[in-house]
């Protein structure tokens, strides 16, 4: 008793391929899947189960496979690949998963002996305590033993995305899909035909059910059809393309395997993700057979009957010449005939139906061929060591008969593959005759054809297609289908057979992938999980990567029996995309690494690298964080050096990342007065102003400096991260609230590089760089700007400062930026000009008490909270957020307000984010909540004051000046005593700033 070739199949060819499974070499044919090749070699044990580590064999012949899931070692160690789908090629190396040390001797199978512990909901019940055990003990063990494959060794982008806009998509290139496509040849429609397999034909190739179409052999008819479709200009065929999602507005996602049956080419993409938008979708994606639960229905050797038939016809391998066939419906007739026609004799034929349903004609056929058959009977269970040895048949619901065979073909009926139809939000209904759910009302422009619509009669498919496609005014071609078995589909309800209690080892499974038994279902219902959605999650039934394709309807059948309800009342769970697992790299496509999140670099970037800058990511920008002057210099030392030097002579910051927006137009002044809190009307041309932007809730959204050229022309800077949002807000208000204003806004962030030079010597340096410009305090006072010619471009220089020192902001076109930067250093050398990064920028501004939006503020801070009352144009009639500033809540005096704090012991350091409290020590244990006054928003060690300075947002902070408070710390429960002070630590009189 073993496998044999089907010599009639075109698959048997001379092209033998060698491949490795678990290190052992085998031979197969070109076109074989891993599964068909293993069956050819009589390999039955291919996996260990998820939870109990039970031996498992191949159960199906397609995407629905729950057991045969393997790891491909030579394809970046790709895990969780279905052996029933993946084709072999010369040299492919395949390993089984979830076993140690080997498939034959698996230590984890001890779990099967411990199985009473692993019953329904065991994750929720078993691992409840003691505290801390979940993270340290349970989770690592569960992750090691329960699970699928090992993650890939490396990740690389291997897919590309392709978009399609078509009129009609046909999903499935089987009988009905091909006929529908032929009717659309040379019509006005753009048609896309998607087939998951590497060839067209579907049921025609997978079975013996259909003999002839229009009097020609099916293979000949498929060839002829494919030729016609390819010649038609309006039809495109995509093979190896699995539709995984059917979304709103007829949007489908299909994954094309470009390397089916081939070794992957590292230079090319392996996958194409097709994003398809269509007007009409035709689902012709067929059906999936379901199993029956019986004792040990998971033993290697149990296989779905139609899958067995598929192996014979599609792959030319008869997995076992004398199997037992067990069915409750009429679809297995062609399997029996296929075996007999090849000269093989099934060991037994077991049918749960009575003789009326089976029909005299078929019974005579069984008798004539001398097949041992049992009607009104069922399989009680099967036994064997790692493969079936004996099969127990309960004859006439009573006597047990034992039959020896190594394989058992099971059919529990067939389900229309409604997965995509329900993804599209179509409604399904229960059919009492077919005993399954079938499509009812579509939600989108969806037509179902053939078995997916619940039409199992292939002769009638022709009329169905004619009817359903008539509105497309498709071609009137008649097709004549000749069947091998003319019986109409009939079925007897049977979800689980009655079985004897043999041992702890004996189990009747409902979900092979997740190791859920029918006992688990019963127990879950008993515990109160009688809603199907709850039951599914509690037992993990149909939650595996196969989504219970061969078993989810069975679980509804079993549950309905327990609850004594109709299946239509029990309802079905939701099918969710994707139809079958697809790798993250397929979804990612080219959007990986730098293509996923582009890096933005300033024109000075490579100078920074040459000068040992350490970079910080600010949004997509790469900004120097600090510069390492020598190898051993720590960040702290570098920042202290940069800060001290800037206050001593001069420092320069590459501020090119600053957002810049140009505002122009007749009504620019009015617009700016509305967008910002500041009053711009009386502001003189060619001056600038620190400005705040609020939300309608009165909270600070962004800040920046606004330069006024004249009433019709402004340039505003924004924070580095806030630029897109500020521009979008400006556009929104212009379009939606004030369309009468004639204003144009434009992002000029990347049109200008910006350098901030500051320090007491900065005037001397810029005077040497721009010799024509008068930088004297009288002619170039604080908060004014000048525009002048420089080479063939223009430079704008603004007297402004974010450090509290004398400073200038230089704006120049990026083409000249690096050149100018170097020139500044050329002249700056004599003054020890130092480049500094964002950390020093933050430290220097904190010394001066300047806030950073997003650090001191968090979307709940008003300008009043920051003591920015002077920035609010109170006399303006309106600006965004104005009314909110007088709301009762916003004008509360005990809101969190900005203060400075310093430690009383000057050697101590306060950490950012710590809480400010009134108690010296936290009580132990903490019984009542400790009152919290606020938090530390910024904290630095000031090199210029030589102690820690910090800013904090404290409740009623303005009234707490001079108070002694405490700040929590990460070390112990002793708090750090601090004093509340003004947040301006350096030069409160602005002498340096305006000198």
């Amino acid at each position: 008793m073993s496998a044999a070739d089907n010599k009639k199949s075109h698959y048997i060819n001379d092209k033998e391929i060698s491949f490795k499974f678990d290190g052992k070499k085998y031979l197969g044919y070109k076109g074989d899947t891993i599964a068909s090749a293993l069956l050819r070699n009589n390999v039955r044990l291919v996996a260990r189960s998820f939870k109990y580590h039970r031996p498992r064999g191949l159960y199906t012949c397609g995407i629905e496979e729950p057991n045969g899931i393997v790891q491909i070692l030579n394809e970046h160690n790709e895990p969780n690949t279905r052996a029933t789908v993946k084709q072999i090629y010369e040299g492919i190396r395949v390993n089984s998963q979830n076993r140690w040390p080997s498939l034959n001797l698996d230590v984890g199978s001890i779990n099967n002996l411990l199985s009473p512990m692993f019953s329904a909901g065991f994750y929720y019940k078993t691992f409840m305590g003691p505290k801390g055990f979940w993270k340290k003990v349970y989770e690592p063990i569960i992750r090691r033993t329960a699970g699928l494959g090992k993650p890939p060794k490396e990740f690389r982008s291997k897919s590309v995305h392709q978009n399609h806009n078509v009129d009609i998509v046909i999903v499935g290139g089987g009988l009905s899909g091909l006929i529908a496509a032929r009717k659309l040849i040379d019509t006005e429609y753009d048609v896309l035909l998607l087939e998951q397999d590497s060839f067209l034909g579907g049921i025609l190739k997978n079975s013996n059910k259909i003999k002839k179409i229009n009097n020609s052999e099916v293979n000949k008819w498929i060839k002829e059809t494919e030729k016609l479709l390819k010649a038609s200009k309006n039809i495109k065929i995509l093979k190896n393309s699995l539709v995984t999602s059917y979304n709103f507005t007829n949007h489908l996602i299909a994954l094309e395997d470009k390397c089916a049956g081939k070794e992957i080419d590292k230079e090319k993409s392996e996958l194409t993700l097709h994003k398809i938008r269509t007007t009409q979708t035709i689902l012709a994606n067929g059906h999936i057979e379901r199993f029956i639960s019986f004792r040990n229905n998971d033993l290697p050797g149990v296989m779905l009957a139609s899958s067995f038939e598929k192996y014979i016809h599609r792959f030319g391998v008869v997995p076992e010449t004398n199997p037992v066939i067990f069915t409750n419906n009429s679809t297995t007739a062609t399997l029996l005939k296929s075996l007999i026609e090849l000269g093989h004799k099934p060991a037994a034929y077991v049918d749960a139906r009575d003789k009326n349903k089976i029909g005299a004609k078929f019974l005579n056929y069984l008798k004539k061929n001398d097949i041992p058959f049992y009607i009104n009977s069922e399989v009680e269970g099967c036994d064997g060591n790692k493969k079936i040895n004996t099969i127990s048949i309960r004859k006439n619901k009573n006597k047990i008969i034992k039959v020896k065979s190594s394989m058992l073909c099971v059919s529990g009926g067939i389900n229309p593959d409604i997965h995509l139809f329900t993804q599209s939000k179509g409604l399904v209904k229960w059919d009492d005759k077919l005993l399954t759910f079938k499509p009812d009302v579509p939600f989108q422009n969806t037509i179902t054809l053939g078995s997916v619509s619940g039409n199992y009669n292939y002769e009638k498919t022709i009329d169905e297609i004619d009817n359903k496609l008539s509105f497309l005014k498709a071609k009137k071609i008649r097709f004549n289908v000749e069947l091998n078995d003319t019986n109409n589909f009939n079925i007897k309800e049977l979800w689980e057979t009655k079985h004897e209690k043999k041992s702890n080892w004996s189990k009747s499974f409902i979900d092979l992938h997740n190791d859920v038994t029918t006992k688990d279902l019963k127990q879950a219902v008993k515990e109160g999980f009688d809603r199907i959605e709850h039951l599914k999650r509690f037992t993990t039934n149909s939650m595996g990567t196969d989504q219970g394709k061969i078993s989810s309807i069975n679980s509804l059948g079993i549950v309905s029996k327990i609850l004594k309800k109709k299946i239509s009342e029990v309802g079905t769970t939701t099918y969710r995309p994707p139809y079958a697992p697809l790798s993250f790299s397929a979804i990612a496509g080219r959007n990986t690494y730098e293509f996923y999140d582009p890096q933005r670099k300033t024109p000075i970037h490579y100078w920074h690298i040459d000068n040992k800058a350490v970079f910080e990511d600010v949004g997509q920008w790469k900004r120097p964080w600090y510069f390492k002057k020598f190898e051993m210099e720590t960040m702290h030392l570098a920042v202290q050096r940069e800060s001290a030097q800037t206050r001593k002579t001069a420092g320069i910051l590459d501020g090119s990342t600053l957002g810049k927006i140009e505002i122009k137009g007749k009504d620019a002044l009015e617009f700016m007065n509305l967008m910002y809190t500041n009053a711009f009307t009386k502001m003189k041309p060619m001056t600038s102003r620190y400005a705040l932007m609020l939300g309608e809730d009165g909270m600070i959204k962004d800040d920046g400096i606004v330069c006024k050229f004249n009433d019709k022309h402004f340039i505003a800077t924004t924070t580095s991260g806030g630029a897109p949002k500020v521009l979008a807000d400006m556009e929104e208000y212009l379009q939606t609230e004030w369309p009468h204003l004639q204003v144009y806004v434009n992002s000029i962030t990347e049109q200008f590089s910006t350098f901030n030079i500051s320090g007491p010597k900065s005037r001397e340096i810029v005077s040497k760089v721009f010799t024509d410009v008068d930088f004297s305090n009288e002619n170039f006072p604080f908060m004014t700007f000048k525009v002048f010619d420089y080479k063939e471009t223009k430079v704008r220089i603004m007297r402004a400062s974010f450090t509290g020192e004398l400073g200038y902001e230089i704006y120049i076109t990026p083409n000249h930026a690096l050149d100018l930067w170097k020139k500044i250093f050329h002249y700056g050398k004599a003054y020890d000009l130092v480049p500094y990064g964002t950390e020093t920028m933050h430290l220097l501004r904190a010394e001066k008490g300047y806030v950073v939006i997003g650090q001191e503020t968090d979307g709940t801070v008003t300008p009043i909270d920051l003591n920015f009352n002077w920035m609010i144009g109170k006399n303006k009639k309106d600006f965004i957020g104005k009314r909110s500033l007088t709301r009762r809540d916003t004008s509360r005096e005990d809101r969190k307000q900005l203060v400075g704090i310093v430690p009383l012991d000057k050697s101590e350091f306060i950490e950012e984010g710590q809480h400010v409290v009134e108690c010296e020590r936290l009580p132990k244990p903490i019984k009542t909540p400790v009152e919290y006054l606020g938090h530390v928003s910024s904290s630095y060690h000031s090199p210029n004051l030589n102690h820690c300075i910090a800013m904090a947002m404290l409740k009623g902070g303005n009234k707490l000046m001079g108070r002694k408070l405490f700040v929590s710390s990460t070390y112990g429960n002793k708090n750090i005593p601090v004093e509340v002070v003004s947040p301006v630590f350096i030069d409160p009189e602005n002498k340096r700033l305006i000198s």
């Binding site: 979304n247 709103f248 507005t249 949007h251 938008r277 939000k425 179509g426 409604l427 939600f443 939701t574 309608e696 809730d697 979008a728 556009e731 929104e732 379009q735 939606t736 609230e737 369309p739 009639k877 309106d878 104005k882 009314r883 909110s884 709301r887 009762r888």
Partner: protein, 116 residues
């Protein structure tokens, strides 16, 4: 992913657009005359019904224009798209099917409309 028909560019994928919430909420003029409650209504309160909803969209990765749409929030079907300066279609011109495509039961938190 739904398809949105930008009145300036034509049909594009939803990923090109951003949603701007409820439409036809005018920014009050003379807000100084409003009491805290009425101003608070404008700033903080938005409708979120199940069924017919008038909302704003902007073609962020396209023409950057704002426009209005009527969408059935229970089916995600866009019933009408119109420019900002066009009058909104009357609610009566649409049949409000509160039924979701998945046919969820009539009782449940998802079936209460915020405002009648």
């Amino acid at each position: 992913m739904i398809l949105i028909n930008c009145p300036y560019c034509g049909e594009r994928d939803q990923s090109e657009f951003s949603n701007g919430g409820e439409a036809h909420v005018a920014r009050p003029e003379n807000s100084e005359n409003l009491n805290d409650k009425d101003w608070g209504r404008y700033v903080f309160y938005r409708d979120n019904p199940k069924g017919i909803f008038y909302e704003r969209w902007v073609h962020t990765h396209g023409c950057r224009k704002w426009f209005n749409a009527v969408r059935n929030t229970s089916t995600d079907e866009i019933l009408k798209i119109y420019k900002l300066n066009e009058n909104p279609p009357s609610k009566e011109s649409f049949t409000n099917t509160l039924k979701t495509p998945s046919g969820e039961p009539k009782v449940g938190s998802g079936n209460f409309t915020v405002k009648k």
